[in-house]
């Protein structure tokens, strides 16, 4: 390495920054742009309480994106998270219909456990039966939605008490929405997890299952764990969504696609092995900020999805283009050689 250092031109700060941001660069640019646009549209956006309210609103998507990131980065998909959120809210309502005195913490834990259980099943089916996770979780989505409504006869039967809803709706000390520290905790937790041994082996598994296996990684367990964590994250999102907006039979509708979009927007490679969890969370924030911007600018409700579609394609398209250039630039330091067999 010492020989290399002399041959290499010292990278500029800009380049070093780009390298540090890595594949997620486009999402940070997007996030910054949208945040600036928000500031121009609505100068009050950056007042503390407004900003906290924004984070609170974004929290469920950020948490779902974090879970989804874990699954995507090890080379899989989780299409069932939206259904888990819906099922979670309905199950909570159903629980309270039967046990009105249930402590909120118990209900929350039940939801987290149930989400984890759904993830466990998806993970086991994907790894043990070798069903592509796209299909497994698609099936899981049908099963969960069907089962939960079959059970409740179509709509939830109970209401959610204020204590349970506090996490999604209430505030601590009268100013800090509980969802914010929860979101922060998940974010920090996921960041640390990805820096820890588990995170590194997860990435390696997504990159090359064979290499990971032959290096002693328990790939099945790692993958299943990712699914379980994604399920738990969805369970937590269900608590927040249920808390934020109360009982609804379609609480999680569309969340699976939003979460995947957020993760991909965050520069994470579908197929696994590359991308950072911070990028994924930034993707979720960008998406939510975009929704808010469209709301505040009064874009016709109907055209909102068109704008969303265009921006997602453009951002990901630009990301793909940008990224390959960045990669080449980094590659061509004199002592390293042309990528071999990377075109696959």
């Amino acid at each position: 390495m010492s020989t290399a250092a002399t041959a290499r031109p010292a990278p500029g700060t800009g380049r070093r920054l780009l390298t540090a941001l890595g594949t997620a660069t486009p999402v940070y640019v997007l996030l910054a742009t949208v945040l600036i646009a928000l500031a121009l549209t609505d100068p009050g956006f950056y007042e503390a309480d407004r900003l906290l309210a924004f984070v609170k609103r974004a929290a469920p998507l950020v948490i779902l994106a974090t879970g989804q990131y874990l699954v995507i980065v090890c080379g899989e998909f989780d299409l069932s998270v939206g259904a888990i959120v819906t099922a979670g809210v309905v199950v909570a309502a159903q629980l309270y219909a039967s046990f009105p005195a249930l402590h909120w913490l118990v209900a929350t834990l039940v939801l987290l456990a149930a989400g984890g259980a759904a993830g466990l099943v998806s993970g086991l089916v994907t790894t043990r039966l070798r069903v592509p996770s796209f299909i497994t979780t698609l099936g899981m989505m049908l099963i969960l939605e069907g089962a939960v409504f079959f059970w409740t006869g179509g709509s939830p039967q109970g209401a959610l008490p204020a204590a349970f809803r506090a996490l999604g709706r209430g505030t601590a000390f009268g100013w800090l929405p509980w969802a914010v520290p929860v979101c922060l905790a998940v974010g920090v937790g996921a960041y640390l997890l990805m820096r820890a041994d588990f995170g590194r082996t997860l990435l390696a598994t997504g990159d090359s299952e064979r290499a990971a296996h032959l290096s002693g990684v328990r790939v099945t367990r790692v993958r299943v764990t990712a699914f379980v964590l994604s399920g738990v994250a969805a369970g937590l999102a269900a608590v927040l969504v249920g808390g934020f907006s109360g009982v609804s039979a379609q609480a999680g509708q569309g969340y699976e696609f939003e979460a995947i979009t957020a993760v991909v927007l965050g520069g994470v490679l579908l197929g696994g092995g590359r991308g950072s969890v911070v990028g994924a969370m930034a993707g979720a924030f960008s998406l939510q900020a975009l929704f808010t911007l469209l709301n505040l600018r009064g874009v016709s409700g109907a055209l909102e999805s068109t704008v969303q579609g265009v921006i997602v394609i453009a951002a990901v398209g630009l990301g793909a283009a940008d990224y390959s250039r960045l990669r080449r630039r980094r590659t061509r330091s004199p002592d390293t050689r042309s990528p071999e067999g990377t075109t696959r």
């Binding site: 219909a97 939830p156 109970g158 209401a159 709706r169 109360g246 609804s248 709301n295």
Partner: protein
């Protein structure tokens, strides 16, 4: 041979079969009637709200809403407005025996339809003369409902009840069915009058206008109104909106935003919160249906603002919030008791009794005054109060409620 030639062989075989069997059509014998504009709905051929506005129908509905219905008191599902009776002796079931009723349902994809179907099943239970009750669920697919109707006409039903998924698209299938069995259409109409009776409450204009008039009454002129709609393109909801828009325009009230919520409470809260930021304050909230009314109320609370006059629907959670939070509110209803009526109508038809050609049910509006009559404690949050189901067997457990 690998199955590579299978499709070709199959094609040949089918062609052969076709030649032997001859050609038949499931389209109505006289060809599909060109649906005329008017009736209870109008097909839109472009954008804009005005496509859904039909002045004559609008006027009619507003008048009907004021009239007192005929029929037994306290049983709104048997009441009717301005009935024009038609004879049904041609359909009278000959000989005794149990009746076989069939029902092609658009789906149970929302709580309103779920409550409705429970009402209908309970009504069926009331009548011992109904031997068999077959329900096919189209799960919201027009295409499947067309097939379902075709399937049901071939099943020996004595009468066919249809709750169409879409107005325009089911017309040919219903026309075809009319040729074989007496058909009862309810909720949404179809663009044909071949059905023996069409059952529906007063309609979307009545609903939308009732809500809008309430807001106009409770707010200052130049008030800022936020309109929350579920999703575009649903005819019943579009008529509600067009009537409301008309009322607002007339009164000079400003609709600052008309947004689609997708029926998602989280989205609703975001929209209301953002609207509060954009416009400073909101003086009234109009909703085209009640599913997300509570979320809207909460959004005001979370923003630390007083809840302005708001319209909702007869859903339990909204009525509860109304009472507990002492809201200024009104709840027009699109009553679920209408699901009972088709069964009653079917039995009348099979007995040869006359029924109205258009069986227009009353469409009560819940106001402050009669809120307590409709709010039943112990019912689930997504229950619809105006179900007319209190006396039905299995109430309230079957509806998910508690004594």
């Amino acid at each position: 041979m690998r199955p590579r030639s299978a499709p070709l062989t199959a094609l040949a075989a089918l062609l052969g079969a076709a030649l032997l069997a001859g050609c038949t059509s499931d389209a109505p014998a006289d060809g599909p009637a060109a649906p005329s504009a008017g009736g209870s709905s109008a097909a839109a051929d472009g954008s804009g709200d005005s496509d859904f506005f039909d002045q004559a129908e609008y006027d009619r509905q507003l008048e009907l809403a004021k009239e007192t219905p005929e029929g037994p008191k306290g049983k709104p599902w048997e009441q009717m407005l301005r009935p024009e009776f038609v004879s049904t002796t041609a359909y009278a079931k000959k000989g005794g025996g149990d009746a076989h009723l069939c029902f092609s349902n658009a789906g149970v994809f929302n709580p309103w339809r779920q409550v409705g179907l429970k009402n209908m099943r309970a009504e069926v239970e009331l009548h011992e003369e109904i031997g068999k009750f077959t329900v096919l669920d189209a799960q919201g697919k027009d295409d499947k409902q067309i097939s379902d109707i075709q399937e049901l006409t071939g099943k020996g039903c004595d009468a066919l009840i249809v709750s169409p998924n879409t107005t325009a698209t089911l017309t040919p299938a219903v026309e075809r069915a009319c040729e074989k069995v007496p058909v009862i259409v309810f909720d949404r109409g179809v663009e044909t009058d071949c059905a023996v009776t069409f059952i529906s409450p007063v309609g979307g204009y009545g609903y939308g206008a009732a809500a809008a008039d309430f807001l106009v009454e409770r707010t200052e002129p130049k008030a800022k109104i936020l309109a929350l709609r579920i999703s575009p393109g649903v005819d019943a909801l579009e008529t509600r909106w067009s009537a409301a828009k008309r009322a607002f325009d007339k009164a000079g009230v400003e609709v600052v935003d008309a947004k689609f919520t997708d029926g998602d409470p989280a989205r609703t809260k975001s929209i209301v919160a953002d609207a509060l930021i954009r416009h400073g304050e909101i003086d009234g909230v109009w909703m085209d249906s009640g599913a997300t009314a509570v979320a809207a109320v909460e959004a005001f609370e979370d923003a630390g603002q007083e809840v302005p006059p708001i319209t909702g629907e007869d859903q339990q959670d909204f009525l509860t919030a109304w009472k507990e939070k002492k809201l200024t509110a009104v709840a027009p209803a699109y009553p679920t008791f209408q699901w009972r009526t088709p069964v009653i109508a079917a039995l009348k038809i099979l007995a040869g009794e006359e029924v109205p050609k258009e069986w227009t049910l009353p469409q009560p509006v819940i106001t402050e005054a009669d809120l307590d009559d409709y709010l039943k404690p112990g019912m689930p949050p997504l229950h619809y109060a105006m179900c007319g189901c209190e006396e039905l067997p299995g109430f309230p457990e079957k509806w998910g409620g508690k004594e």
